[in-house]
Symmetry: C2
Subunit: 414 residues, 2 copies
């Protein structure tokens, strides 16, 4: 048979989804599987979005504009105005989710073989998008010790080569929950101006900032209009991940003009999803507050419970709906697989995302998992009870001495 491509063979299995077959097997054996691996909240989709879908009343579901429906682009302008970001509808391209937004931006800005710098741990699919577009990921490691703050800007400087074309950040961060300060963003601004780089900022969790941490959008910074590309999506904001509606936003007209050619090749974004997204952006404040308060409650409960388990270490995240957790196990991926294949507690088990897939250097995340607090507190409670029992029973559990060694460089959590 003809050979599969090299880039196909290089494509990673998603750390978030690769254990799905094991979860399905566990369910077939009659177990309940609490899925904390994936950013799929149980929060109801904004009712305005559902209503808009049910009210679709067209005779022909036609191709739309390749840039997306103008009415949706204008609705996004209204939304951004509310968060102090001033853009025109012509600065916006609608995409099939933030996934397509990032892929098309990489194609537009980077040649095959060019490099993109990414603070790690990073959203695992950044590596997939880069692989699919023949772009090299250059990681800079952020540390659990300081809550995964932006690494010193000198570390970025050291990694810049003639092939470096862009930096991508996720803010608030998936998987760490870190929120970049204005000062950190200004450092990045100075850096991309100095080295003439693009700066991609993925801000899909913008509304989820806790404990008074203030969010700054990359679009609020002056003097880098030609450098900045905002990546956004309605998936998390209105709990509508299955819609697949995202955007590329940039003041760089040349960039958008070229990105539009890639958009033309795939004709248009899905129509019904765009209608739903447009309605969702008008969701009332009560809906947004409900979601915010729900995630806040879950975070507090989850982090507290996790840190009460012997040998587990979980810093309090500032935003989004994920935590990165250090577990007292030999290998977090082995443990996650074992939980699905070998373990159950009263016919229940938990699905976790091994963190190694969120690091370029997979050794770094070896004892970490990402937990998404996408279930309500009652379900979370049951899930965490399983996790606690699983950690107790797991044959590869670290000894007390090993745990002490593992945690010795990490600050004591308050």
């Amino acid at each position: 048979m003809p050979e599969i491509s090299k880039r196909g063979n290089l494509m990673p299995n998603s750390p978030i989804r690769k254990l799905v077959p094991l979860a399905e097997e566990a369910q077939q054996k009659g177990n309940v599987v609490y899925r904390l691996n994936i950013g799929q909240p149980d929060i109801p989709t904004s009712p305005l979005a559902i209503e808009a879908i049910r009210n679709i009343n067209v005779k022909v579901i036609e191709y739309g504009h390749s840039a997306g429906n103008e009415s949706l682009r204008r609705k996004f302008v209204e939304y951004y105005k509310r968060i102090n970001v001033n853009v025109n509808y012509e600065d916006i391209l609608i995409t099939t989710g933030a996934s397509e937004a990032i892929t098309l931006t990489l194609l537009t800005c980077l040649n095959a073989g060019d490099e993109i710098i990414v603070p790690e741990p990073f959203y695992a699919n950044y590596f997939s998008f880069a692989t699919a577009t023949d772009v090299e990921v250059v990681p800079i490691t952020s540390r659990m010790e300081n809550g995964f703050a932006l690494p010193p800007i000198e570390e970025f400087e050291k990694k810049i080569t003639p092939r470096t074309k862009a930096i991508i950040i996720c803010n608030p961060n998936n998987p760490t929950g870190y929120i970049y300060s204005r000062k950190e963003l200004e450092q990045l601004r100075d850096l991309v101006v100095k080295h003439d780089l693009f700066l991609l900022s993925d801000e899909v969790y913008r509304e989820l900032c806790y404990d008074g941490y203030k969010f700054t959008s990359i679009m609020e910074l002056d003097g880098i209009d030609e450098h900045v590309i905002l990546i956004d999506s309605v998936s998390k904001r209105y709990s509508a991940t299955g819609l697949r509606t995202g955007v590329i936003v940039s003041k760089n007209r040349k960039l958008l003009e070229i990105a539009l050619r890639f958009c033309q090749a795939r004709l248009c974004p899905p129509y019904v999803a765009q209608v739903a997204a447009e309605a969702a952006i008008d969701s009332p404040q009560e809906y947004m507050d409900m979601m915010y308060n729900e995630f806040l409650k879950r975070r507090n409960f989850l982090v507290n419970e996790l840190n009460s388990m012997p040998g587990v270490y979980c810093p309090m995240p500032k935003g989004a709906f994920y935590v990165l957790v250090r577990l007292p196990v030999d290998d977090a991926e082995k443990f996650a697989m074992w939980m699905l294949k070998e373990f159950n507690y009263n016919k229940q088990t938990v699905m976790l995302a091994p963190a190694s897939g969120f690091y370029f250097n997979t050794d770094f995340g070896k004892r970490e998992v990402r937990v998404a607090y996408v279930l309500n507190v009652e379900e979370l409670k049951k899930a965490l009870e399983c996790l606690r029992k699983g950690l107790e029973a797991y044959p590869g559990r670290l000894s007390k001495d090993e745990i002490r060694e593992e945690l010795k460089e990490l600050p004591v959590l308050k």
Copy 2:
């Protein structure tokens, strides 16, 4: 500012969509623009699809499986069984339109720099997908003289190099309307086996074969299961182009396994579109017959009218809903632009797709346009009256002698 990528600069403007701004200007001046440039029929979307959308009744629009909803994959199996193609649901990946299906297949099968052979004229976006994936298009020209039949297989042989990894055909063909015979497909089969190549067959117009021409799916051929990838979509079949639901079908499990990794990176296809597509596949025969008869009537009217215009040459297409037409003009793209910018007949004009964008060697299509018969006969009549008047008034019209020269190698149409 940082530089746009080379591949971005290489991305072609869509010949189908690049005149859209001129059409918008013409409309702003108060003209009616008959859009015959794009495969966007006015046929009502299958009512079952619309109904399914209006009946959506979920609390959360969630991520689905990266391979697509299992129920939709199984529904496609039923559909294929009806057309004598036996596949399992595991042979099917749901994609965001045939566009994504082709892009992901190219990424899975070809490395950057590899070559794909394409009979030209070809669907213009094949070139865009190849450019976006750094794949080289190697064209083999089919000829208006013989209705755009498959070029002799020896011409394919001559073009095969160590870099050749695949051949792509569109059957029935967009833009030529040609339907490949079983004998031609068998020649391609022998070729891909001999040279160990992949064979992509884009069959989205499968139901539209006229005058008793029999359609053969590439999936009906034996002995090339590991080589063949079927590309399909519900867009044209159920007049639902804005849904964006396509498929990759292949018996090559390794290929699908790797393609699935690309699917995982973009998480899942749009949910609502999948629900609509699943319903549409059950569209009653009356709906399919209505569509078929409508396109047949339009084709006959259109081709007859076109050939009645002095100097216009239009062979009768066998399938799909396009014709390639030779026009008595100096340059078909200039003419198409002139029709929008300078011309109107009783405040009406026509938008055409210059054919040069459907050829790799753009000189070939210089005096041709693609016309999509996507309007009803009454509208077509008005559109063609505009075209006739436009051709009469166009300053770059060929002289009688030039027309004779232009058409001398083409057979007389019956």
